[in-house]
Subunit: 436 residues, 2 copies
């Protein structure tokens, strides 16, 4: 990497103008490019407190400004923020890129992170990131880049680094239930599950997860005869139970809507607020399709009391798109009631089933909480693909503590949650939303 | 499932009008819907030889016509074809659906397949499918459906079932090479690889695969100093070698383009035609980005002499989108030169690396042919996730026969290649191409 050191421009803005809670401007800055020959045009306006970069007519520029905070303190947590005005840029993800870098020496990184962004107005974006300065770091740098384009311009303004409190702990005890309900009636199935829910609550579970279409499991009548509205009789029983036991509960069940359509619907019930999430299975199993179950058309993410979560159901797991979308939307946990996987056959059937769960977790840096029907093994998989809980076959449950602050690091630095989303290239993926 | 049997309409079109090579029209037909209450409006026009279905104002219809061929012969191969004119339909994949079903009894399937489609003109589509009638089947049925919409209409015309020859065998011997080239010069690396290529060719390899950036591997100079144009000196040497040894060769190497930009580029060389495919790495590794390598922006698929193939490079494997797009475009094999995977760490490092390869293969029903650098294990993974070849660490190669006609069946019928693409719901995936 090559640093092109610009003449140091005197910093005239008095730091006194910024309170501690306001964040501090950089102490100095210099030009940077990925290598000689890739530089964009760059300028700095003291008056406007802006760092500008633009295409110079040559393709695929990759460079910008390095802004330094030499007074950042090792071990402390910081929030970096900068505003960006983009003109003539096709994709912000591609071409307006920022990284927060902590240096061990002048050239060696202690750690680094992609800075994420959100749109604040037409052509305007807020870039921000929170990170801990490593104990062996000597400096914090915000690298602001025009990247992989030869046109358009970016005006970055008001960069600040602000010390913040370390993030608070976010751990949840999650129970995954399996079992073989009698299947004689919805009421009998509900009673069966209530028993297991009570046992899991006794063990201090905070979220209790049930398998797929569990209220109508093994019932012989057609789904449309035994499906219920949501909210309806079954969710009322479960909401009461959630309130009584001070737990959250999720499951999938057959839903009858006001048009007479039947869905396989996942429900997330908060102990106080009742139903806070409803998801209608998007990828129906073959048998469901042929029997006239109707699919959903959205992958919603919900704010639970613990963090962001979404649900998928069984055959959804065959298509990686659902997990991707939930995670893009910020889901930290995916609850997945499931009967099996048509690829999990042969000698390595269970192994393959586990591999799929593990790779879904790794690809999206998400917790996979999987409840299998019929007394089969359910699992809780960490974002690094490690199975941390597995329920024994039969009627019962397993429990594990989920740490929502868990980050899956790698030798390259940053963490995989940050890198996964910072390094995606959605502008190149358009073919995915076309028919085959 | 409920079959609503319509009065049999006399079939007046004489079969004599169709030669054997032309395909035969159905002998009879009846109405079908997924269940009572989901029927669309339907009509049949003898004059126009069309079966029509349309929304009736109620949401999410799911039904249409079953067209029967009672004279189809067990064990024979057939091509089914029908034309579809769509009006007011948002998504063909969602709402114009056809299945080819072979019945064992009146209600029990022997096997079945989604019928794929291609656009022939505005609002017009050709649906077609090839399949073998199972030996225990008594009848072939084409099920033509309006699905999951309450609006628009479909006019299906000229359905035919035509006996065809069984598909011919398509097997290839593929060699995956690994090794530690000296890294003293591009020429020395080329010599090193030539030796291994000659050995693999002696063992009758038909495609020989090399690892990532193998021409400049371990060379200390910056990539821009040692990169070559493509075509250029190195690809000329490899093309000559391919011609001499009667093999295809693929690899990745540093490419210098006419703008002075440097790419990590995969090249596929046919023995007679020379370079038939070039792919520029889309997802750069962190180090590449920081050193000013430029990314590509396309996932091309090539017609090799054996079948359709595409390539990805190393860090591309972290993002499932590339594999998805190549497979959507019809790739049967993905060649992947790779150094490692940042998620493959800890006790289960190699196991995790394998799991990722295995799930990529399963998710997309594609052969994964993976060459690792630095004398590390490469693998060939079958579309059902089974590793069928693994190269020993060190300098050498492994070889396996790849059967491009391999299909990964499941207990539900059809095969997973057919089901994977027939059951995707791209209309619901739009969030994937947005920034996080």
């Amino acid at each position: 990497m090559r640093h092109i050191v610009a003449a140091l421009i005197p910093v005239l803005m008095p730091c006194l103008a910024y309170g501690a809670s306001e964040g501090r401007p950089p102490g100095r800055w210099e030009k940077w490019s990925a290598r000689e020959g890739l530089e964009p045009k760059r300028s700095y306006s003291r008056k406007r407190n802006t760092w500008t970069m633009s295409g110079n007519g040559r393709p695929m520029r990759h460079g910008g400004w390095d802004l330094h905070w030499d007074d950042a303190k090792p071990g402390r947590w910081y929030r970096f923020e900068v505003h960006c005005e983009a003109t003539g840029i096709d994709s912000i993800q591609e071409s307006a890129h920022a990284e927060l870098i902590f240096w061990k020496t002048k050239d060696e990184r202690a750690n680094w992170f992609h800075v994420s962004f959100e749109k604040t107005a037409a052509g305007r974006y807020r870039f921000s990131s929170q990170a801990q300065m490593p104990k062996d770091a000597i400096r914090a740098t915000a690298r602001l880049m025009l990247r992989w384009t030869g046109k358009g311009s970016l005006k970055w303004s008001d960069p600040t680094l602000k010390e913040i409190a370390p993030p608070s702990e976010r751990k949840i005890k999650v129970a995954i239930i399996t079992g073989r309900p009698p299947g004689t009636s919805v009421e009998a199935n509900m009673k069966f599950m209530e028993q297991l829910i009570r046992e899991a609550a006794k063990e201090k579970a905070e979220i209790i997860c049930l398998p797929e279409v569990i209220t109508t499991w093994k019932i012989k009548e057609a789904a449309q005869s035994v499906a219920s509205p949501i909210p309806g009789k079954e969710t009322k029983v479960l909401s009461r139970l959630a309130r009584e036991l001070k737990v959250d509960i999720n499951l999938s069940m057959h839903e009858l809507d006001s048009d007479g359509l039947v869905y396989n619907t996942a429900v997330y019930i908060d102990r106080d607020r009742g139903i806070i999430g409803k998801y209608r299975k998007v990828h129906l199993a073959v048998g469901e399709r042929w029997k006239g179950i109707t699919p959903g058309d959205d992958f919603p993410v919900w704010e639970t009391r613990f963090g962001k979560a979404g649900m998928l159901i069984c055959y959804d797991n065959v298509h990686p798109e659902g997990h991707r979308i939930l995670s893009q939307k910020g889901a930290e946990v995916i609850f997945l009631p499931i009967m099996g996987d048509p690829r999990a056959v042969g000698n390595r059937a269970y192994q393959k089933w586990l591999e799929i769960m593990s790779v879904r977790a790794m690809d999206n840096h998400v917790w996979m909480v999987v409840c299998q029907n019929n007394g089969d093994r359910g699992v809780i998989v960490r974002p690094d693909g490690e199975v941390i809980a597995e329920v024994d076959p039969g009627n019962g449950f397993a429990m594990a503590e989920i740490d929502l602050n868990f980050r899956y690091d790698s030798w390259i630095g940053s963490d995989f949650l940050n890198r996964n989303w910072g390094e995606r290239r959605p502008a190149v993926y358009r073919r995915i939303v076309e028919d085959k």
